[in-house]
Structure formats: C-alpha cells, structure tokens
Symmetry: C2
Subunit: 209 residues, 2 copies
C-alpha cells in the first residue's frame, strides 16, 4: 500500500526503470494531494465564527474529500496491480492461430482493466473538483490559495490519468468499446479541466484583487 | 525530512488544520513527481539500441532530473521551515510605534523569505520542463505518456507555487520589491505553463496519432 511507503522510496521507485509506479500512480497521488488540500481548507474554516453558517457544508466537504483521498490513494496501488497481467499478456506466444486468439483475448481483457483504473481516477478527481468549487465559494478566505493549489493538483490528475486511457484503448481490438472509453474520458477531461481553471481563476482574483 | 515520512502520514498532515504542509509543500512534491517521472522515461530509453545515439543526452537528463527531484523535495521542507517565523511575526505586539516598527521589519523579512521559497520551486519546475522537452523529443516512444504526465505535474507545481508568492508579496510594505517578485513569478508561470502545454500537446499527438 502506497500509504505505508516512505515518500522518498515511492518517488525513487517512480524515477526507476520499473514500469510501476508510473504516470498512473503519479496522477492518482496528485488527485489525493488535491483532496487533502481541500480538507485542510475545510478544516481551517470549521469552527470559525465568521463561517458558522456554512459549518455543515464544510463538514460534508471534509467527509467527502477524506473518502476521495483514500480512494485515489487506493487507485495508485490498483494501477500498479493491473499492469503486471497486461505486461505478462504482451509476452504470450502467438505462433499458432490458437495462441494468437488466446493472446488477443487475454490482452483485450487486461487492456480494458488497465483503462478502467485511470478512468476511475478521472471520476474521483472530478468529484474532488466539485467539492473544491464549494470550498472556493464558501470556505475561509484565509485558505483560498490552498483551494487554488488543490484545483491544480486535481487538474494534473485528470490530464495525467487520461494518457493511460489513451495508451490502452489504442491497442484494443474492440474499437467500439475503445471509442466509448475515449469519449467518456474526453468528456471528463474537458469538463474537469474547465472546472479546475474556473476555480483557479476565481482564487487568483481573490488573491490579487 | 519529507523523504523519510510515510506517504499516508504526509498526506494526512496536508489534510489537517496544521498550517504546514500546505499548498507550498504540495506544489513542491508535484514538481518532484514530475522530475521522477522524467527520470523513469530517461531510464527506459537508456540502453535501448534504437536510442543509442541519444544515450548521452538521456544520461544527462537523468542526472539533471535526479538533482531537481532532490531540490524540490528539499523545498517542500524549506516551505514548512519559513512558515513558523512568519506565523510568529503575525503575533508580535504592535501597541507602540516602536513595537509596530519592529513588527513591520520582522514581517517584511519573513514575507520575503516565504516568497523566495515558492519562487525557487517555480525555477526548479521550469528546469524540469526544459529536460522534459528534450525527453519528449528524443526519448523512447514507449514512455512518452509518462513525459506527458510529468509535464502536467510540473505545470501544477508552477501554478500552485505562484499562489504562495502572491499571498506573501501582497502583505509586503516594500511595493517595489513585491512587484519585482510578482513580475518574475508571472514570467516563470507564463513561460512554464506554455512549455508544459506544448510538451503535453505533442505527447497527445503521438499517443492518438
């Protein structure tokens, strides 16, 4: 589990030639950092007299982001887990028609699994952005910059994870399924990036205005 | 030191109401993740026959990114270190003219220190992007998606760190110095963001084309 690893060990493993952790794991972690920073903003709003009327929303934001952080951390692990069977499938024999058919079948299954994990990262990062939008609007102005940084982290998670979808759907034989996944990913990417940029822009305005 | 902390502990500390780690630390870590992913790409290019003619450039990239990763991790720690004296300065007495003058002097010094750390993050993240540009162009196509994710991490580092510059320069009395810092930060932000988006766009083209 990623949580139980030393930060320096994990980043060194990321830098190594080992295939995992890689871009998928880093994207999930960036999303988790965004969820964590959002919680910091909620935590520093809760209990402040000036923000008493949004206390419930802050508690709900905190709760939602705490779960999203855990889910995104778990997706970093899951991303590494789905890679091994995919790498093994690439090495399957394909000399005979039977071998080829079996390799295709196993590849297809593993490519799909390796696409669905980054898709979940994108869904979770989008959910983080939904909460960050609320925190930007109603949270303490003292910590609005952390909400802005959080939006950048979620944005990086979305734009990072989508790459791992494209790589895997590219090799899928079932083009209909591949296109369906690509379209879903593009929609999440477009909407999430716009949402992140909007939150960030509003934070900048508060900071500089 | 951040390297010696468990990943789960650090992210939980980020989520807590403790002022550090906060947006600055997360930005530095995102930059370090970008530097690490770039090293992965270099590591997976080095030793490959097809990329033999760029071996030296890959080795140099690996070396440069390894140092940048360490520097960015150290900046996450440094960011937490400069916060404590700044927070203490906010609490200094200001009843008399002498106290007020002394508080202003200490505040100004600490605001500057707290601005220079994220500025260094931005410089290091920009340096990461310079290397990523080379890796996108000349590194193995097998790992180009990791270069794309790395560019997103460096982009998040830049766009995150700049917020901590704006917050601190906003309170500085020396407006000339403050404007000088803001202008430098904006230049790094504009150029670095464009560079990250260009690298990412090229990677997307290779992945989808």
């Amino acid at each position: 589990m990623i949580e139980k690893q030393l930060l320096g060990q994990w980043t060194d493993a990321l830098a190594s030639k080992a295939p995992v952790p890689g871009g998928g794991g880093a994207s999930a972690l960036a999303g988790a950092l965004g969820a964590a920073l959002g919680q910091m903003a909620a935590n520093l709003t809760i209990g402040k007299k000036r923000y008493a009327d949004v206390e419930d929303e802050m508690q709900q934001s905190l709760f939602a982001l705490n779960i999203l952080q855990m889910e995104l951390m778990a997706l970093a692990d899951k991303d590494a887990e789905v890679f091994a069977p995919l790498a093994a499938a690439y090495g399957m024999p394909s000399a005979t028609e039977e071998e080829k058919a079996e390799k295709d079948r196993v590849m297809e299954k593993n490519l799909l699994a390796a696409s669905l994990v980054p898709m979940q990262m994108m869904e979770k990062a989008s959910a983080v952005l939904d909460v960050l939008g609320l925190l930007e609007e109603k949270g303490s102005r003292m910590v609005v910059s952390d909400v802005g940084v959080a939006a950048q982290m979620a944005r990086a998670a979305l734009n990072g994870a989508v790459m791992n979808i494209y790589i895997n759907t590219k090799s899928m034989k079932n083009r209909e399924k591949a296109e369906e996944l690509n379209e879903k990913a593009e929609k999440l990417l477009k909407e999430g990036t716009a949402q992140a940029d909007e939150i960030y822009g509003k934070v900048l305005k508060k900071l500089k205005g």
